[in-house]
Symmetry: D2
Subunit: 366 residues, 4 copies
Amino acid sequence: MTNIKRIGILTGGGDCPGLNAVIRAVVRCAVGRYHIECLGVLDSFDGLIEGPAIIPLSWHRTKGLLFQGGTILGSTNRGDPFAYKVRVGEQIVEEDRSEAVMANVEKLELDGLIIIGGDGTMAIANKFWQRKRLKLVGVPKTIDNDIWGTDETFGFHSAVEIATDAIDRLQTTATSHHRVMILETMGRNAGWIALHAGLASGADVILIPEIPFSLGAVVAKIMERSSRGSRSTIICVSEGAAPIGGKQVTRELVPDSAEPVRLGGIAERLCRELKGRIQTECRYTVLGHIQRGGIPTGYDRILCTRMGTAAVHAFVEGQFGKMVALRKNEIEMIPITEIAGKNRFVDTGNDLIRAARDTGVYFGDE
Amino acid sequence: MTNIKRIGILTGGGDCPGLNAVIRAVVRCAVGRYHIECLGVLDSFDGLIEGPAIIPLSWHRTKGLLFQGGTILGSTNRGDPFAYKVRVGEQIVEEDRSEAVMANVEKLELDGLIIIGGDGTMAIANKFWQRKRLKLVGVPKTIDNDIWGTDETFGFHSAVEIATDAIDRLQTTATSHHRVMILETMGRNAGWIALHAGLASGADVILIPEIPFSLGAVVAKIMERSSRGSRSTIICVSEGAAPIGGKQVTRELVPDSAEPVRLGGIAERLCRELKGRIQTECRYTVLGHIQRGGIPTGYDRILCTRMGTAAVHAFVEGQFGKMVALRKNEIEMIPITEIAGKNRFVDTGNDLIRAARDTGVYFGDE
Amino acid sequence: MTNIKRIGILTGGGDCPGLNAVIRAVVRCAVGRYHIECLGVLDSFDGLIEGPAIIPLSWHRTKGLLFQGGTILGSTNRGDPFAYKVRVGEQIVEEDRSEAVMANVEKLELDGLIIIGGDGTMAIANKFWQRKRLKLVGVPKTIDNDIWGTDETFGFHSAVEIATDAIDRLQTTATSHHRVMILETMGRNAGWIALHAGLASGADVILIPEIPFSLGAVVAKIMERSSRGSRSTIICVSEGAAPIGGKQVTRELVPDSAEPVRLGGIAERLCRELKGRIQTECRYTVLGHIQRGGIPTGYDRILCTRMGTAAVHAFVEGQFGKMVALRKNEIEMIPITEIAGKNRFVDTGNDLIRAARDTGVYFGDE
Amino acid sequence: MTNIKRIGILTGGGDCPGLNAVIRAVVRCAVGRYHIECLGVLDSFDGLIEGPAIIPLSWHRTKGLLFQGGTILGSTNRGDPFAYKVRVGEQIVEEDRSEAVMANVEKLELDGLIIIGGDGTMAIANKFWQRKRLKLVGVPKTIDNDIWGTDETFGFHSAVEIATDAIDRLQTTATSHHRVMILETMGRNAGWIALHAGLASGADVILIPEIPFSLGAVVAKIMERSSRGSRSTIICVSEGAAPIGGKQVTRELVPDSAEPVRLGGIAERLCRELKGRIQTECRYTVLGHIQRGGIPTGYDRILCTRMGTAAVHAFVEGQFGKMVALRKNEIEMIPITEIAGKNRFVDTGNDLIRAARDTGVYFGDE
């Protein structure tokens, strides 16, 4: 049916609900439809630099993967094979190990790779395609939903449901106990999770990177709500949100031997700023990695299955150097080159923003 | 801003997650954006025939509606005002009470209605628009997702998640205990829920109305799976699925004074048919109303908010006789006349069916 | 530390959330605490009759078992080794194969068995202990919570949460749509699930085997509620509930070549009986196997861990022929002989029944 | 039946799943069983100092309260009426306003109060009973489960399920991505939530206030695990856990105009300490208020119903100055005086700790 005999599959970057569901779809489609053998590469490109470290992926091995969080292939933080982190004595230096990857691809007799990863991983994939002509097809992965070129990425909706559920819980406390409650979601560059979860859970204020906010205006909003009898205000804030003219808060630890000191994230900062200015008590929660892990929703499992099978078809058709994308609910293939270095941001005129404003959500910008 | 002063809102047909979230969006947008007063009509059109039975819907009254299942406006089964069921002595007869509706609309000084309902309710709405020029805008509602003209209806994805969760649970039993497990979902005309939930949960066989199945082929499939070492088979069947050349099983009680007898639904029938032909034990579950009720998912709450606010904008713009629709993830308005008497079926060549087949799902048709 | 070298573990009977969590606890405690080797016996006693069919259970193998529904050891329906079902030609006959079990225990050099199962499995265990002096310790398993001698069994609370969640969903439909909604839970002999789930979800009527009900009284209750303005009534009924003087409805298929006919379960029967007598529409749902499968709650995972480790300690202490029990929230060991042939029923004077009546629940008995 | 005519109900302290379920049980039992009128006091004792601020609580008003998080009666932070915070000019001073409470109790013709609250609220209740002979019955409330005299408090198991679910999600990330993941639960004085959730979710290390830990030992444990091939370590830490000889980390903001600086909580501190000493990346999440809010589990709703009805019975029987307690799964009444100033700690020799150690959990203490 096709002269492709064997492909490798790898997952790169941080955790995301649905990684295993994509692996399952790729393997089942490749094995069942095209009789292509599948090898799983362990720990992203590391498995093709050290080793090789691979596991066979049979149809039988895919059992239960739809429901299983994480990735059975593991991931890495040593990063880009073109600038691979290597320890030399006491130091960490970067070396180009891309040829080791190519050598192992040849040694394993792989016809190419299906690469599941975020924008960092896609940038690496792009280099392998552009410079080395490694045959590859990408599947976009991020809970942040900010990969350019695709309307949706798997894992995003799972993250939104988790954040929505968290705000639902905060709502009862806020209402019963006269509180301002702040929930910080992930989203360093783009505010998709905060926008969706805030809208879904009835947050009163949503702060996202795409709409710089005025702290004074947020304070005024809380006071206005209070004066109209609202006992509480729920704020859903994206980790990358920043005040007008200000810059993003970096959640970095300050090296300080004397005292345990740090710069907090935006939720903490917001909470501190509000404390001096409003009467109502304020509490914040940073959802963190809880929104990255666990079982994907049914919605995401379907998207994973669509994307995983589409990747195999594209590979068989020879559409190398391309990434699966969902556009207007249709699967399309787009050149990975096109997406490099770009993010997909919330269009502040889009109909979600409009629907949010129509139902009383405040973005801190007026 | 607009010369519209007061509108009525009603909900018709069966329960569906998100009805209250639509009501919330309509009220908040109407009151907050356009200063339009909102009246909730109780028990669908009944509230404009008897009574009138209405409740004021202020911004404050919408608190908590995002999370609340059911509809605070109630619904009815007396049905079409043009053929309204009335008890006359011992008999139920049908009378045209549409003028009572018009009279109450006038008496309440309503500028029109926003009508949230399924195809039955939209057919009634169409008559009021065509024959009486009652100003109205529709919002499509069905967990079955089979309303013509819109890619998605709210409540559908909530139902899919519930059914997916149910099959997840059956999976563990099937695998551990050598079983054929059958789950029957709703979907009398269209197989959307069964297709989505079956695909999401890794069902081995999916049977939907759009693809008539061969019982013999299903039996053969189970045996083939068994011979290859699979201890279990999961079948997800739509309530309206039917064998090739056969007809739908009607879940009707047989009036029988002597013995408690009935014709079962498709899951029960399938289970009985399989029992004689395969060794493996077979069990079935009919999800029933569990998939219609309760808290909507975050996804659906967003869709409800988009559709509810869009209905208000359309009303203000004078787009009467139209229904909100979602097409390629954009909100559009379509004439209600166009959708009457049609259903949106699963396109058997669509990419979900393809992805399902690619990952080994069997539709009983080969 | 102990002269026990190797034990076998098996799971018998139907599915139950937490089986794998018990296996995990047994293996970790045996291996980690006592350096005892663990062998998993496949498909209950079948694995010691055919075969032997066993898998090694290392500490590493227990990874992820806390969350995994079902049992990795499988179960069976061929049943009692003392009356083992064997096919001879066209017939199924029963043979005593208990000596095959003893022979394989010896061959595998097992010091004994830890047996996880329900009352049927415990009855078999009792025979092996009484007649063959096979060293064994039992862990009670049933979602029905009706094993004599223990206040709680693992899986029960998980089943209650599932049923509670289901009734929560039915509540919204019942309230919005003027309905009588009936949910049938498992519980053939004892009404624990129906009582707990009904009480937890605010059911208006709870029917359990321990309290025979009067249909006329239930009808009167619904009418009284209706006359006081309640739009809906929720009935939670145990599969084994029966009318006063009547007998349990057996959910058996009637062999009937002409027409697909059957005797329904209690929920269906109740629904039919009510239809003739009340105005309100009535719907029923049978939860079925959904309440047996899937991920156990945190509560049950803890109980599984307590019981599994207790079984190992008891084995090491030589407390053979005993079963782990939970009494007044303390772990105790009780002779398996004592529990044989008994069920633990709901004490109709207990404080849950009292709390239920105090909050308005009706049991159909007054 | 009783000469009690009217009682007041109030809720004090922080949010806790099940507050409304207790209110429901109290009202239904008081109204339905004893024809006692119920008044809800708003915002804890504040409602009897200012105002009075009360709402009538009829049977009908209890509809839906089983599922509703938070408390419809509100709570406060102005605290103890014997040392009530009052603003005088620029200052907040404390005044004894207990007589205002007594006066309003008389004015409202209340026969007494049912007080739902934590140890702080119970201490106030104790003063009212000891000093003023105000007739009252207490219902213990805390997600921390550390109220002396009762084996369980409602809300605790709901909090455990939330924390368990959170760790389940972190597990997938930890395993796939070679991480040390830390989850901080509530529990300033007692480690119940961390112990239960850690045990339920398979945490590798659990740190609680009752068992001071050695940081060096934790580091050694992580390294030992790593050397045996474990890619990840999950640490579940109680907010009040502290190193041996050290003291609790206070999560206080440091007032610092120059820079946004603070002392972090124990999870953050632990993460920072580990960073310098181990290779593996480390991430932490502080669950915070998410574990206090939202819908209670079925288990807790039943406990709320038992406790709420028991409080009414006790009141009718004249058992004033007592609190409802659950001991060995039986409801008992204990004098509030006995519990004042005490906490119920984890007994480090109890069978949960033992079961945890038996399955490999490390408490940092060896």
